[in-house]
Symmetry: C3
Subunit: 266 residues, 3 copies
C-alpha cells in the first residue's frame, strides 16, 4: 500500500492540461528557458516574475510557485523572500528546490529560512535534502553524491516539521509527507545529462499542486508524468541533445494509459 | 489594398541575410538564448549588451535595438533607460515589447516611459497593447487573454501618438502605423508552446527595421517571414520540442518563393 | 612538428569522461544553458556559481573555472573578481573568454585586470585577442571581424606575458603557449550559427585543463574534440536548430578513433 493510485496521475494530468495553471517561477539562469518550455509542453502557463517589487503581488494570484536557489543573485533572493510569505498568505502552493546547498553559504542560509516558512513541497537530491535537514554535508554542485535511501530519514523529518511534502530525486524517486511514502522507479539516466532535468521537475510539481490540494498526491503524479515522459523520450534519443527535444514532445503527448502501463511504484 | 506587397518581404529577407544587421537586444533571461538563435538562424548578428555603462554606447552603433520587459531587473532597467534615448538620438530603429504589463507595477511604469520616447515598433499581445494604451487591465503573465481585434483601437492610438508601428500578435497578427493596417493569418499554435515564440519576433522586427526605413513594411515582412517559417516547422514537428528545432532550421532556409506561396494577408 | 599528438586528445577525452571534472562557470545569460548542456554531454559536471559570496569558495574546490565576459552584470563582475584570485591561490586552472571587448568599456577594463592575474587559458576570436593584447580595435559584438592569422602575434604576446595558453577561434583555430603553436582546421560554419558555439568551448577547455596539467595539450585536445564533434553534427544537420541538437549528441559519443581519423592539424 503506497498511498498513491496511478489512475489519479492520469486524472491530474488531464486537469493540468484543461486548466493550464499559471506557475510562477523564481528560478536560476541556467534552466529558466528549459523550465518554461517544460511547463508549456505540459500545458501549464509559466511566468518568471523575479524582482521583489513584483514577485509578492504575483505569488498571490498564481496557481503555484517555484523557488529554486540555483543562481541566487541578490535581487532574486529578495524576490524569493517577498514571494514565499505572499504565497503562504494567499494559500498558493509553493515548491522549494534548495539547489547545491551545503557548503555554499548564501543559498544554504536562505534555504533554511525558506524551509521555516513551510513550503508545500521540497524537491532535491539526497545531498540537498540531508543538508536542508541539517544532517548532511551537501553535494558538489547539483550532483547527488548520496543515494536516495540515505535521505529517507531527513525527508521524513523535513516533511513532519513543515507539514508539507518532500521529494528526493534519484534513480528511484522517493516522495513522503511524513506519513505516506512512495517510491517511483521510472525515469532515465539521460535526465541527468540535460541541465534542468531536475530543476524543471520542481516547476511541474508546482503545476500539479495548483490543481490538487492533496500535495502528496499531486507530487507523486508530477514525478510519474515527468519520469514516464523521460522514458518515452529516451527510447527515441541518440544522446542528450535529442533526448531533451524528445522529452518536450513526450510531455505534450503522454497519456493516462501510458502512465498506467509504465508506472513502477513501490 | 493592404499597404504591403508580399514580394517586398522576400526582398527584405534577402537584404537581412546579405547585410547581417547587428541587433542589440536587452531582453529577458527566459528567452535570451532562443532570441539569439533566432537572429543567427535568420542571418542577423545578435548582441545582448544589457548593462547601463555599455548599452547607450552600443545602441548608437547597432543596426537595431530590442527592449523586452520580461524580467526587468534593476540593472537591466537602467540599461534600457540608457539605450532607448541613445537609439532615438542616433536614429537606430528600436522595438519595445511590453511583456506582461498591466498589473505588475515596475514593468508597467517603465513601459509607459519608454512608449513616450517613441519606439519605432511596439510588439505585444492584445492584453499588453491595451495596457500600454492605458485602456486594458493587462494579461496574466505572457498569455493573451483578449483577441487581437479587441486591441485594434489601442494599436492605432499608440501608433498615432508615437509615430511608429504597432504589431499585435495573436492567431491573426495585426500591424498598423495608424494609417495602413495589415492582418497576417500565417503562423501555428505551436509558436505559443515554445517560450520566446513571441519575444523572439520582436528581435526579428528589429533586424528588418535595421535594413528598411519604412518600418511598417519592415514589420510586416518580419511577421510574414517568422510565421511562414513557423508553418513550415509545424509540418515536420512531433511536438513543441521538435517544433522549436525545426523552426530555427526553417528560418535559415525559408525563401521568397515560400513567402509568396504561403502568405495569407488581408 | 606541432607539439601536440592527436592520440593524446583521445586519452584526455577518456579521462574527462571517467573523472567527470567539476567545472565552475561564471558566464553570460545568453549561453549559460547551452554551456551546461555541452559540459554534461561531454561527461563533465557544470556548476554555475556566480555570486561573489560563493564564487571564491567554489573556485577553490572546482576542477576548473571559466570566466566569460558576455553579460558582465555588476554582481557577476564581483563574482569574477572573487573567483579568479581564489583559483590562482588554489591552483585551479581557469579560462578567460573576453567576449566582445574593445569598444565596450566595462568588460574591456575587466578583461585587462583578469588577464594580469594570469589565466591558464585565454580563448577568443581574433578581434578579442587583439583587443586583449592592447593592439586591436575590438569586434562588433561576438563576431570576429579579423582573421586568426592577424592575431598570431597578439596571441604569442599574451601567452608569453601570462605564462598561459591562448586559443584564437576561427575557421582555423590557433593554439599557442608562446613556444608551441598548433593550428586545427576542423569544425563547421554552423558553429557560428548557434549562440554559445564559441563560448561553450571555453568551458570545455576548463574541463580538459582540470584533468591535464599541461594546459597547452589540454587546450588542443579540447579544440579537437569540440570541432570534430561539430563536423559529425553538421553531417546530420538540416540547419542551425538541428545542428545544435546533433552537436550535443556527438559530444557524448565522439571517440578517440573519430579524432584520429578526422584531425586536420598543422
Amino acid at each position: 500500500m503506497t498511498g498513491f493510485a496511478v489512475s489519479t496521475a492520469g486524472d491530474l494530468l488531464t486537469r493540468v492540461r484543461e486548466r493550464g495553471p499559471l506557475v510562477h517561477c523564481i528560478t536560476n539562469d541556467v534552466v529558466v528557458n528549459f523550465t518554461a518550455n517544460v511547463l508549456l509542453a505540459l500545458g501549464a502557463a509559466p511566468a518568471m516574475v523575479d524582482i521583489p517589487e513584483e514577485s509578492g503581488v504575483f505569488a498571490g494570484v498564481a496557481g503555484g510557485l517555484l523557488i529554486n536557489l540555483g543562481t541566487p543573485h541578490a535581487e532574486r533572493r529578495a524576490a524569493m523572500e517577498a514571494a514565499a510569505p505572499a504565497a503562504v498568505e494567499a494559500g498558493t502552493p509553493w515548491v522549494l528546490d534548495p539547489v547545491a546547498i551545503g557548503a555554499l553559504p548564501v543559498r544554504t542560509a536562505l534555504a533554511h529560512r525558506l524551509r521555516d516558512l513551510g513550503p508545500s513541497v521540497v524537491r532535491g537530491n539526497a545531498s540537498e535534502i540531508l543538508a536542508l535537514a541539517g544532517t548532511g554535508s551537501g553535494g558538489r554542485g547539483v550532483d547527488a553524491t548520496e543515494g536516495v535511501d540515505a535521505a529517507t530519514g531527513a525527508a521524513v523529518e523535513i516533511a513532519t516539521k513543515t507539514g508539507g511534502v518532500v521529494a528526493v530525486s534519484g534513480a528511484v524517486d522517493l516522495i513522503t509527507d511524513g506519513r505516506r511514502t512512495v517510491r517511483i522507479a521510472n525515469g532515465d539516466a539521460l535526465l541527468t545529462r540535460v541541465t534542468g532535468g531536475g530543476c524543471a521537475l520542481g516547476a511541474v510539481m508546482a503545476a500539479f499542486a495548483a490543481v490538487e490540494s492533496d500535495h502528496f498526491t499531486a507530487t507523486c503524479a508530477a514525478v510519474l508524468v515527468y519520469t514516464v515522459a523521460a522514458e518515452q523520450a529516451a527510447s527515441f534519443a541518440g544522446g542528450p541533445g535529442s533526448f531533451a527535444v524528445a522529452f518536450l514532445d513526450a510531455l505534450s503527448a503522454v497519456t493516462a494509459d501510458d502512465l498506467a502501463r509504465a508506472a513502477r511504484l513501490s
